[in-house]
């Protein structure tokens, strides 16, 4: 009886968690904790996935790890400036190529996002040494790293957009020295190696404030401000892969998949009822709890559902049904040989060996594919991983519902009704 109460409690709790927070104007009552919504991958909900390859050829081996994590955090900052919900920025490596994978959902101005996220924005001040023909530019130690803030302004003389910059106290000192050395000369400013402005220094500038004027459009100046504020990328990057899914395609594929899924599950329910009658009913209830627990855990763990992820889920549904079928078929055989209660226990015992061995084999495979240890020679992101994670989770839950829930329900069922 205690166990039955526990099952009923589990059922009600997972029904509550699984229900959407809002559905057709009805809002689910919330208690102290708020249940998060189901998360869908960009192949379902629409969004984009950008893969940048980092050029680490100029970085010394020792400093590479640090430079890459710096790269990731700058990219994260830039992504956040777009106000994207749930952005995902990840490092990945394969065959010596270092990559950053950026996943964004629901951005309208994708092109702008790509250019802002991927621009190196390495700002550098250079001096001109020598005169006339022999003049050469010389790099200085004043760079974008010395900035404390950048903002968009309009030049008071001609109304052109410009970028006002403020240096850190260190940077202000360097800037003071630099301008002091170069009174009456040009002080070019390079962005990613290209000169964007070459103002003439009329006097030594104290206080660490300056303005970059160039032939910017407002848009360009805005982007530059964003990039400078987020910091320069420590390593130049190149876009090697992108995927943009419009929300219409996503919505269509999810609607169809839901309908197909419901019809499929309905078909399985009917089949189980026809094949196994009362036992099938118990199995169907077990399957329902299985699905509810799975959806609840997706929500609680924040697992992002993608199309391959749904495939993993469907496979685990198949395996959950299989556990039941294995037990029922054994039960059919045992029923003739002993009383029903013993037959049930024995068929559970015998079926368990094969359920355990088969499911562990599946878990082993999904463990390798999900690569939880982030081993470099295996997939560290992408579709295969999503598949493996939902499969592994599904197998674990199906072992639980198959053995704990269906078993106890069947015991009660057999006692009451004598199948």
């Amino acid at each position: 009886m205690k166990k039955l109460l526990l099952i009923i409690f589990l059922f009600l709790a997972t029904v509550y968690i699984s229900l959407p927070n809002e559905f057709k104007g009805y809002t689910k009552p919330q208690y102290k904790f708020k249940v998060p919504d189901l998360l869908f991958g960009l192949d379902i909900s629409g969004g984009s996935r950008l893969v940048f390859e980092a050029d680490t050829t100029k970085i010394l081996e020792g400093g590479k790890k640090e430079a890459l994590s710096g790269l990731k955090s700058v990219m994260e900052r830039r992504v956040n400036l777009f106000g994207v919900s749930e952005p995902n920025v990840q490092l990945s490596n394969f065959a010596g190529r270092d990559r950053v994978v950026v996943e964004l959902s629901g951005i309208k101005e994708m092109d702008k996002a790509i250019s802002v996220i991927g621009t190196t924005a390495q700002l550098q001040f250079v001096e001109i040494v020598g005169e006339g023909e022999t003049a050469e530019i010389k790099e200085t130690d004043l760079t974008g790293a010395d900035l404390s803030n950048a903002s968009l302004v309009f030049d008071q003389n001609n109304g052109q957009p410009a970028v006002a910059i403020e240096f850190t106290s260190d940077g202000a000192k360097k800037f003071e020295d630099l301008t002091g050395r170069n009174v009456g000369k040009a002080l070019p400013i390079l962005l990613d190696g290209v000169p964007i402005s070459s103002p003439n220094v009329s006097e030594k500038i104290i206080g660490g404030k300056a303005q970059i004027t160039g032939s910017f459009t407002v848009e360009e100046a805005k982007n530059l401000v964003t990039e400078l504020n987020a910091g320069a990328l420590p390593i130049p990057v190149k876009l090697v892969e992108q995927e943009i899914v419009g929300p219409t395609l996503g919505a269509e594929s999810i609607n169809k998949s839901v309908v197909a899924g419901l019809v499929g599950v309905g078909g399985v329910f009917v089949f189980m009822l026809l094949m196994y009658r009362g036992l099938g009913l118990v199995a169907n209830f077990g399957l329902l709890i299985f699905a509810l627990i799975t959806i609840s855990l997706y929500k609680v763990f924040g697992i992002v559902l993608t199309l391959p992820g749904i495939a993993g889920f469907l496979l685990s549904v198949g395996m959950a049904v299989d556990s039941n079928i294995l037990i029922f078929e054994r039960f059919r055989e045992e029923k003739g040989q002993r009383n029903i209660k013993d037959a049930l226990e024995i068929s559970f015992g015998k079926a368990w060996d094969s359920i355990r061995d088969a499911n562990i084999a599946t878990l082993v495979a999904s463990f390798i594919l999900a690569n939880p240890l982030d081993l470099n020679f295996l997939n560290t992101s992408g579709p295969v991983r999503g598949f493996a994670i939902t499969l592994a989770l599904g197998v674990l839950i199906s072992l639980f519902t198959g053995i704990v829930i269906s078993r106890n329900l069947l015991r009660i069922f057999v006692k009451e009704k004598r199948v």
């Binding site: 395609l249 189980m272 993993g312 299989d322 495979a365 295996l378």
Partner: protein, 287 residues
């Protein structure tokens, strides 16, 4: 029933399918998706049916020539290009808009550098080799014999060959080998082993005594109903997905469907016959 009496029939039957599959793979090859070849794909949703042909012509007239323009059955035009930059993609869309304003909407844009595809294949193959070895090891330990492990993995290989052959033949009907195919294949390999272990379990339960052939016969008879019923539930699910699901999952579900049938078949009719033949050869050798 004396299932094992006909084991050469099963070998011949499987062999026939595998040979056809290999022949098709060698002669037709695969239709490889952008995930692996690299390149760009733009999908357009057609809003004005009457302009579909015109949009198609406009696409072919543009500066960037698509390699192919395909129609799918839910009003999508899928144009494939060699690599495209963001600027080139914008040019294509502007050009299309000039002539067909309001008749279409870009719903998907995808570009993949060729190196990414290679990476996915290499990593997946590594993952397959590692997980097959671990599964082999696990079965060998649980069933206290390497023969069980090797036969199960050979049955898995049988299913892999069947799926590759099917992919090659279905390529004629528009199926592409992409990352979803890879996922489907991984699903079936897990399923195949899962199914094989259930039959093995019966053999183990009956103990080592007696003739291996008759033990196998009883084991197969004992698990046949379960195998068929279990496959039927999965097949019901997949048929629903093939018939009603979206375009993006249609081929995926089809491959899973073929794989489920092959995976179910390969347990009693590939893994077990290999096991029995192996044990018989061994016994003969000992004499």
């Amino acid at each position: 029933m004396k299932w094992m009496k006909y084991k050469w029939v099963y070998f011949l039957f499987s062999g026939l399918f595998i040979v056809v599959g290999i022949y098709s793979t060698v002669t037709l090859g695969f239709k490889i998706g952008v995930d692996f070849t690299g390149g760009a794909v733009i999908s357009y949703q057609i809003k004005d049916q009457s302009k579909k042909e015109q949009i198609k012509t406009t696409l072919l007239e543009g500066k960037e020539k698509p390699r192919s323009v395909q129609e799918t059955n839910n009003n999508l035009l899928v144009a494939k290009f060699a690599e495209l930059t963001t600027e080139q993609r914008n040019e294509i869309n502007t050009f299309l808009k000039e002539k067909n304003e309001g008749a279409f909407e870009e719903v998907k844009f995808e570009t993949v550098g060729p190196s990414m595809g290679r990476e996915l294949i290499i990593k997946t193959v590594i993952a397959l080799v590692v997980s097959s070895s671990l599964i082999l090891l696990w079965i060998a330990i649980q069933f206290k014999s390497v023969k069980f492990g090797v036969s199960a993995v050979l049955a898995m290989l049988h299913d892999t060959l069947i799926l590759l052959g099917s992919a090659s033949i279905l390529g004629r009907f528009g199926m592409e080998v992409d990352y979803l195919f890879v996922t489907a294949m991984l699903t079936i390999l897990s399923f195949s082993v899962h199914d094989t272990i259930v039959v093995y379990d019966r053999i183990r339960e009956m103990g080592r005594g007696g003739d291996s052939e008759s033990v196998a016969d009883t084991a197969i008879s004992g698990t046949m109903r379960r195998s068929i019923n279990n496959s039927l539930t999965i097949i019901i699910m997949l048929v629903a997905l093939v018939a009603l699901g979206g375009e993006s999952t249609k081929w995926f579900a089809t491959i899973l469907l073929i794989g489920t049938i092959s995976g179910t078949y390969s347990s009693p009719f590939v893994a077990v016959p290999i096991l029995v033949t192996w044990e018989k050869l061994l016994a003969r050798h000992k004499k």
